[in-house]
């Protein structure tokens, strides 16, 4: 799916917990996330901290979008 968006000419970042899958589906910019049922959150954290974590993850995704890449690249947090 990411590939079709990329194909259309729009840069796309894939936020995904299982990064090998992300590699396999052909994403070029990849940000690893927390867990399958809650990729952008962690219910174990207090609400404020959880929000901060999400902000950090999405911020990383925005950084990925503004970074030139040649090949599939994983942007670790």
């Amino acid at each position: 799916m990411v590939k079709e968006i990329e194909r259309a000419g729009i840069p796309v970042v894939h936020m995904c917990t299982v990064t090998p899958i992300s590699m396999t589906v052909g994403a070029n910019r990849i940000v690893p996330t927390i867990a399958i049922p809650h990729p952008l959150g962690n219910p174990a954290l207090p609400a404020e901290e959880e929000y901060a974590l999400r902000r950090k993850l999405v911020s990383r995704a925005l950084e990925a979008l503004t970074t030139e890449v040649q090949d599939q690249t994983i942007f670790e947090l």
């Binding site: 840069p11 396999t24 979008l65």
Partner: protein, 347 residues
């Protein structure tokens, strides 16, 4: 003069001990150790193991960077014609170490490398980057693996042209190489069809690519003036799933307006995805589709605008073909709406 080889093995094959000794740090020994004998014998003096590097599997996993640096320094010093690692058979961490050390030697020292392991060993993920000989899943396979590896190793040291993977016995590495089969193509096709008809195993000569690659688009230059869209395969939909997107075998995708929506709440949104525990996403749908954070970035001017629509599919039930079709379709809508970048989230 015979070719010089450095061999990498783990604590187990160096006879130091099993799992309880997996913590041992890298160590350099002169000459061959353990399984190296089999290679030396196969080379009949044409090549020889001049040094063996032994490293505990846990040690490598936990101190990869340091271990690699130490190993590279030793290899460099020994100036070998080839670096050979393993074979690791089905030992996962050993395989990982063999593959990664070999890759580092190849990339940083420019020395030919070779390793061997069972096809399902995680280290085999690197088969497109380094040559890996497939082996049995236990050390009992050494007798079969050693001659294949030794022969291929000699070829590499002599700088001879590599044959096709099935000829030279390495795992297919994405590089297609021609060779002459024993039978003509039509005969092979008839034989393959007969096996397929009898439900017997057969091997295709050209595995269909399961995916293609699209080159990355240039980075977004100015995010503060960019429209960014959110898409997800995590099945986030308005509460009540108005479009009845099925939790499995999804036949369509959802397109929903979030204009004026500050954040997703449990009262207004939920997940239609049937493939994971929905509790967390239903409690707080922002955990899958981070509208809340994006709005904040929008207010801060970090991004120009969050696109008014998001697109959603359910990852598990949608066929690859459908997923492709859906994404291709909404990608066009995004394009026409002037979206500059997309964040796709998956569960």
């Amino acid at each position: 003069m015979s070719y010089r080889v450095v061999h990498y093995i783990n604590q187990f094959f160096a006879n130091i001990g099993g799992e309880e000794m997996a913590h041992v740090a890298p160590e350099l020994r002169e000459g061959f150790v353990g399984p190296g004998l089999a290679f030396n014998q196969a080379w009949k003096g044409e090549a020889e193991i001049v040094a063996t590097i032994v490293c505990g599997d846990s040690h490598f996993a936990e101190h990869e960077k340091e271990a690699k640096a130490q190993i590279l320094a030793w290899v460099k010093e020994k100036k070998p014609d080839l670096f050979i690692a393993g074979p690791a058979f089905n030992a996962g961490r050993y395989g990982y170490a063999c593959a990664n050390v070999a890759l580092a030697v190849k990339e940083e020292l420019g020395i030919p490398v070779l390793t061997g392991m069972y096809e399902e060993n995680p280290g085999a993920d690197l088969k497109d980057k380094i040559l890996i000989v497939p082996t049995a899943n236990s050390a009992a396979g050494m007798r079969k693996a050693a001659p294949v590896m030794a022969k291929l190793a000699l070829k590499l040291m002599k700088g001879e042209k590599l044959g096709a993977s099935c000829e030279d016995g390495y795992m297919p590495n994405g590089v297609r190489v021609n060779f002459f089969e024993k039978e003509r193509g039509s005969k092979r096709a008839v034989d393959m069809l007969l096996k397929k008809l009898a439900d017997k195993p057969f091997t295709t000569e050209y595995p269909m690519p399961s995916f293609d690659r699209v080159a990355p688009n240039p980075a977004v230059k100015d995010l503060s003036h960019a429209t960014v869209a959110l898409c997800t395969s995590g099945g986030i939909v308005p509460k009540g799933n108005p479009d009845h997107i099925e939790s499995s075998s999804a036949s369509h995708y959802g397109e929903y307006c979030i204009k004026g929506v500050e954040k997703l709440t449990a009262e207004t949104y939920e997940t239609a995805h049937g493939g994971y525990d929905p509790v967390y996403a239903n409690d707080d749908p922002n955990r899958v589709l981070p509208v809340d954070v994006m709005r904040e970035f929008e207010r801060e001017g970090r991004i120009g605008k969050l696109h008014d629509y998001f697109y959603t599919t359910v990852g598990n039930g949608t066929s690859v073909a459908n997923a492709k079709k859906f994404a291709a379709e909404y990608a066009q809508k995004l394009l026409q709406a002037g979206v500059n970048a997309v964040i796709m989230t998956s569960t």
